[in-house]
Symmetry: C2
Subunit: 530 residues, 2 copies
């Protein structure tokens, strides 16, 4: 293995060999278990330092760039992605084994280009920066770029929509005026390379600093810690596992660098007795779809289903079991995912969970795990709440059978923070008294509370919150999905006190820069000039 055969990294607009790379890796096709052809470098910190320096030089230019140009870039990127549609779908399919249809082609890639267009629109609209103007005192403030690049660590499970070089965090960081240093997920480096290449060409076409998008494929853990705590860094966005997230958080926190983490989530579903009586079969089908879609590899997959131990729930779980059994599971994204689900289930079984169906890897060349339903009593769950709150990332879910309504509430109280929590309730109000008691408990533990709806398949829309209390994320005041709110992660609050018109940024001058931008002027939202 020598450097010439390694794929180049993208630093400061140039595809160049990694400097003194400390190793290489190849992506694996989960459908065959075989390594793919291309070798990618594990960068040493020299590459990161080059990227940080180049990004730092790009910062002033990006701050001065009119938002319209940022928007042009994001729109153009979305358009050119369409021109590489087949390449992207083919590569992502090879690297992740996610189905081309509908997942990659019809669902995820359109979502990705849609996000880019939404971010472009938000940049152009400018209202995201929440310009606040006190006319009498001439004090004016707004959210502004961070003054340093955003490091984006993309996850394994969305090769497009959360890709570090084209996904939601990327789009939000760029739309807010920051350079991005993308750290590819090692399970789909080829997909990420294609995106970064398109992005680089679009930067050039729009006359933007080429260091606004840079790409590194892989780092040793200690170099990741150095990156997120580096003085030149603006902030980090990380989507991935809890152990890795907590390590990064510790390093970033110590250095006083903002880090936004989306780490893990159980996404509990509480099925109230009235709903179960009313429509058990329909809910069983919804649960099955939500748990097994994408082989259960979503951050919002329901990992826990809480219901009363009675005849209805017995029948219900039997239906779920049948669905789980009869359907072929999809491929897991990597051997790591397989090992991690095996280990999570091991812990849960030791703590008293019983396998209803599945529970084992499926033999074959592909990386696969049977659709798995586990069951545990409410008593045992409460005794072993920590061990049984395992994110088994993959097609697995644990049903908890509560003795009574009081225990159901106790179970809710025992839960740690989640991205989502759902309740299913009787349509005619039969569950209202219980809902009234359960809702405040769940509300405090989650970013998104759903009613009569499964949490997977989240819409990219302004009111969406993909966030929640620690340890689901690092800060419950933010969201990683939903534009423009997601952009606020990558912004600093900047005030101008007694600064004259000619020295103010356009968004804070008396004249509304677009004629339509919303600004908070003397306490009221307005689109007018001053």
């Amino acid at each position: 293995m020598n450097d010439k055969t390694l794929q180049p990294v993208l630093i400061n607009g140039e595809w160049r060999p990694a400097r003194n790379s400390i190793g290489s890796f190849r992506a694996v096709n989960p459908a065959t278990g075989e390594e793919l052809a291309d070798f990618y470098p594990i960068s040493c910190f020299a590459d990161v330092e080059d990227a940080l320096q180049a990004a730092q030089c790009a910062v002033p230019g990006l701050i001065k760039t009119p938002p319209e140009t940022l928007a042009d870039f994001l729109d153009l990127l979305a358009e050119r992605i369409l021109a590489h549609y087949d390449d992207l779908v083919d590569m992502a399919h090879l690297e992740t084994a996610l189905p081309k249809e509908p997942r990659l082609r019809v669902t995820e890639l359109p979502r990705t280009t849609n996000q880019l267009h939404q971010a472009a629109a938000a940049a152009k609209d400018r209202s995201w920066c929440r310009a606040t103007i006190d006319t009498k005192l001439n004090i004016r403030s707004k959210y502004s770029p961070l003054g340093g690049p955003v490091a984006v660590f993309g996850p394994n499970n969305f090769p497009f929509a959360f890709n570090s070089s084209a996904g939601g965090d990327f789009a939000a960081a760029i739309a807010a005026g920051n350079p991005v240093i993308a750290k590819a997920h090692p399970s789909h480096p080829g997909t990420t390379r294609i995106f970064a290449g398109i992005a680089r060409d679009c930067l050039k076409a729009c006359g933007l600093p080429l260091a606004a998008v840079q790409l590194i494929y892989h780092l040793q853990p200690e170099d990741g810690l150095k990156l997120v705590s580096h003085p030149l860094l603006g902030a980090t966005a990380f989507t991935g596992s809890r152990p890795a997230g907590l390590q990064l958080k510790k390093a970033a926190d110590k250095a006083g660098k903002p880090i936004y983490l989306e780490m893990s989530s159980l996404n509990p579903i509480f099925i109230l007795p009235g709903a179960l009586k009313e429509r058990a079969k329909r809910i069983a089908n919804e649960l099955f779809n939500s748990c097994t879609m994408g082989a259960g590899q979503f951050c919002t997959k329901p990992g826990l289903v809480v219901l009363l131990k009675d005849e209805e729930s017995k029948t219900f779980l039997h239906s779920v079991q049948e669905y789980f059994k009869q359907s072929l599971p999809g491929f897991l994204l990597s051997k790591n995912v397989l090992e991690s689900i095996i280990s999570a289930l091991e812990t849960m079984k030791k703590a008293g969970a019983e396998v209803v169906t599945g529970g084992k890897p499926i033999d074959g060349p592909g990386i696969c795990f049977a659709n798995t339903l586990l069951r545990v009593s409410g008593d045992t769950f409460l005794k072993k709440a920590k061990e049984l709150q395992q994110e088994a990332f993959g097609p697995a879910s644990l049903a908890v059978l509560a003795n009574d309504v009081e225990q159901m509430l106790e179970i809710a109280i025992s839960l740690e923070g989640s991205l989502t929590a759902s309740t299913y309730t009787h349509t005619q109000g039969g569950d209202d008294p219980l809902y009234a008691r359960l809702e405040p408990i769940l509300r405090a533990k989650t970013g998104r509370l759903l009613n009569d709806k499964m949490p997977t398949g989240l819409a990219v829309t302004p009111a969406m919150v993909h966030g929640g209390p620690f340890p689901a994320t690092g800060h419950q005041g933010f969201t990683s999905v939903g534009i423009p709110a997601s952009m606020l992660r990558f912004a600093a609050l900047h005030c101008y006190d007694n600064v004259g018109q000619d020295r103010l940024p356009p968004e804070l001058k008396d004249k509304n820069p677009t004629g339509k931008m919303w600004r908070l002027i003397d306490g009221g939202w307005a689109q007018r000039d001053i």
Copy 2:
């Protein structure tokens, strides 16, 4: 010393003796150096645990409380403070030696009641929660109370306006619907006790949970760490020294608990050559006032003045020196403050700073330090940038004489994050080219950028930002002054997905709850119903 002679703590609405207190302390009158009569307990963790448990019980009630009632409480508190005006001014004067007139009576107490009224108005208005509604998908979100109490650690330097039981953090936390656990500053426990007593009576009068305001006077450092990282805590607001702040941050970060810190700041002033030529005397007078007001004990006191080394700056510094010399310094707040300024100056002198005037404590029964101006060359500053960036909390400031414009810019680049940064520029545009180069450097390093204005005396107004990059604060996306923005620190982003009208909080129902509240409906700010 036995428990009966110790002042009681306020837990769950009751003034009761501290449980197994581990010691006691008395406030000191800085004007005489003598201890005051009352003994206050250093609580052990049992008191904190009681307060956390009681606050937890108050959370659901507070969440359900109509914002109008929260507003009534805050307004009533402001009114009743007026009825205790003399008591408060007398006590604060005894404990801090800050002048009764104008500081305590005319400036700080009116600011405090004004903040409470502003917070009341923001609570009632409800627009602060940024309700966001996507009508087509029925996805709705808003900022909501944290679900746990806010621990407020007040600073030594504002016995009223930042008091843990009545100041800005307190008002913002309550207005956002959270209980407060106040940790008094040990330099003014009596003032804090009066505020907490009034607050308790107002809670009762308004029918609010009495555990919404609780007071502890003092804690051992390790118990402070336990408080900010406790599972029942919502968040922490801390204003104080950097070493204490960093310790608390580490503990809170590890536990995933939000903590907002306002720790230290140099507040550099760059006087550009044109401004100095034009109006040196006026600027010298402004600088003197800003550096010595309140004996320089403001977080926004200019600690660093950067100017070119030339004849004008020589004359300018001579004027400043004369002002500093001729004016009597105020009292320092405590012996700790005195020791800390001595130590900071020692470090600066060792690093090459030269005392122009002052530099020593002033003998006498009162705690006092001479108005101090130091000077250093730009060369030395750049060599010892870390040592010379000391917050000398008190009436001291360091002038840095740059060889030329390029070195002035280098000095700006070398600075760490500050709450404020000011430039003074020629009124006819003579400094424009230099301003254009300096502004982007300073902009990235501060929350509030001022032009031709000193940073002390900050207005409580919606566009104000009292924040900035680490290590001035813990997160540059937030502000601790300026309502309603300061309330967002004490809120969680909550989304409701597919939740019916009768189960939504009032702010997210179709009908606008006040008829005037601003909401982001389908991308536009509106006051209408849906």
